[in-house]
């Protein structure tokens, strides 16, 4: 467990000393969402109808933007090599890296979402549901993204490949999360969507560290 905390604090320390690495995707998220009212319509009714989709699609793209850096940096400097040959379980080390990725990308998006929700005229209850779906699903985005990132590590200019690999896996999350927020706007029940998001989270939490570890070992061979 000690090595989990060591890896987590190391990754957070590196990110905080080089803030542009995690601020760029967040800035993209804020800027992209705030451009929609300018391009579509400033009218409250139209924007509040589109808000769940706008916020969720932008969130997904922001996470995708940040995934490239998840392993590339450690691959280039050789630390990833040392992690793979270490006697500590590789999935545990990767889980620490994924958690630090979520703390620096997913969590800030959850915290920024009320502000952006209010800017798109979402009512208070829908903002609550939006935050809940983001809180449930952004960890899955980091976990599933790690699988793609570990597959493409070592391939140069692989941004497009990552999108092709990962976006299809993100689609169910997008559908359930944005429909939860839309249904909440009409006062309908959202428990089915939340259960689905929770089950995706549990599945990816159980599988992703192991699959990523396997993919990394293959990529480094």
């Amino acid at each position: 467990m000690n090595i989990f905390i060591q890896t987590l604090t190391r990754d957070l320390k590196i990110a905080l000393r080089n803030p542009s690495s995690f601020l760029n995707p967040l800035l993209f998220f804020v800027i992209a969402v705030s451009l929609f009212p300018l391009a579509i319509s400033p009218e409250a009714h139209t924007l509040s109808n589109l808000a769940p989709g706008i916020i969720w699609v932008t969130c997904m793209l922001a996470v995708l933007l940040s995934l490239n850096a998840l392993f590339h940096y450690d691959y280039d400097n050789g630390v990833l090599e040392q992690m793979v040959i270490s006697h500590h379980p590789l999935p545990l080390l990767l889980l620490a890296k994924i958690l630090s990725h979520w703390l620096l990308t997913g969590l800030p998006i959850v915290l920024l979402s009320p502000l952006l929700g209010a800017a798109l005229f979402l009512d208070r209850e829908s903002i609550g549901v939006l935050m809940l779906t983001l809180l449930l699903a952004t960890p899955s985005l980091s976990l599933i993204g790690a699988i793609g990132a570990s597959l493409i590590v070592g391939i140069k200019n692989s941004g497009m490949l990552l999108s092709l690999l990962i976006l299809p896996l993100y689609v169910p999350i997008l559908i359930f999360a944005s429909s939860a927020v839309s249904q909440a706007q009409f006062g309908l029940s959202i428990s089915a969507q939340l259960y689905f998001l929770a089950s995706i989270l549990i599945l990816s939490l159980m599988g992703s560290p192991f699959v990523s570890a396997l993919a990394l070992r293959t990529s480094l061979e």
Binding site: I3, Y73, G78, Q82, L220, E221
Partner: protein, 200 residues
């Protein structure tokens, strides 16, 4: 007595057969230099011994533990071509993380560890500000605190000055006399006693 056994391993890269049915065994105190021309498979052999890649066939074991198993991985220290340092971290922080990766115990890093490696005054410097040779010294400093019996060093003398080479040779000799095994690749002449050579 500890024994590293390499049994009939083969390695192929693309259509190139680098080596086949290579066997040797090393016991406590042995130092083995792997020599060969560029592209002859020295690094590939070290990577197989480090458990980083697997051989086409054959097996590698240390005290009956197969390469890749957690017990085997605990017994090796591998230094590859890459520095294994993060430029955003200070020397001391880099060294501490590397040691945590390599050992279960809290690493016994003192201020002297880096000073012994000739890095006096650089303990709290970011590694981004160090020269290639100094970076090499930071990684090699983890040899001083490492308890792993097998050292696998890929071109360890690269970028080091004469003083650095001297310090490293002294460490390897000490490791060998303490009963450790050291396997290294180098193109430089080194004056290590009781060193065997394996040509690929």
């Amino acid at each position: 007595m500890s024994e590293l056994n390499v049994n009939k391993i083969s390695c192929q890269k693309g259509y190139n057969n680098l080596f086949s049915e290579l066997s040797f065994s090393l016991t406590s105190g042995d130092i083995l230099k792997i020599s060969g021309a560029n592209g002859s498979g020295k690094t590939s052999l070290l990577k197989i011994l480090a458990g980083l890649s697997s051989a086409e066939c054959g097996s590698v074991s240390f005290n009956q533990n197969q390469a890749g198993s957690s017990e085997y991985q605990k017994d090796i220290f591998y230094l590859g071509h890459l520095p294994a340092l993060s430029s955003e971290l200070r020397c001391q922080e880099n060294l501490s993380f590397l040691s945590h990766l390599q050992s279960d115990n809290e690493p016994d890093i003192t201020k002297n560890t880096l000073i012994d490696m000739g890095l006096k005054g650089f303990e709290n410097e970011y590694t981004a500000n160090l020269s290639a040779g100094q970076k090499r010294r930071v990684v090699l400093a983890s040899l001083l605190i490492n308890r792993a019996p097998i050292w696998l060093l890929d071109e360890p003398f690269t970028a080091l000055d004469n003083n650095g080479i001297g310090i490293l040779e002294k460490q390897i000799t000490k490791h060998s006399s303490d009963g450790g095994i050291c396997i290294l690749t180098t193109h430089q002449d080194c004056s290590l006693s009781n060193m065997r050579t394996l040509s690929l």
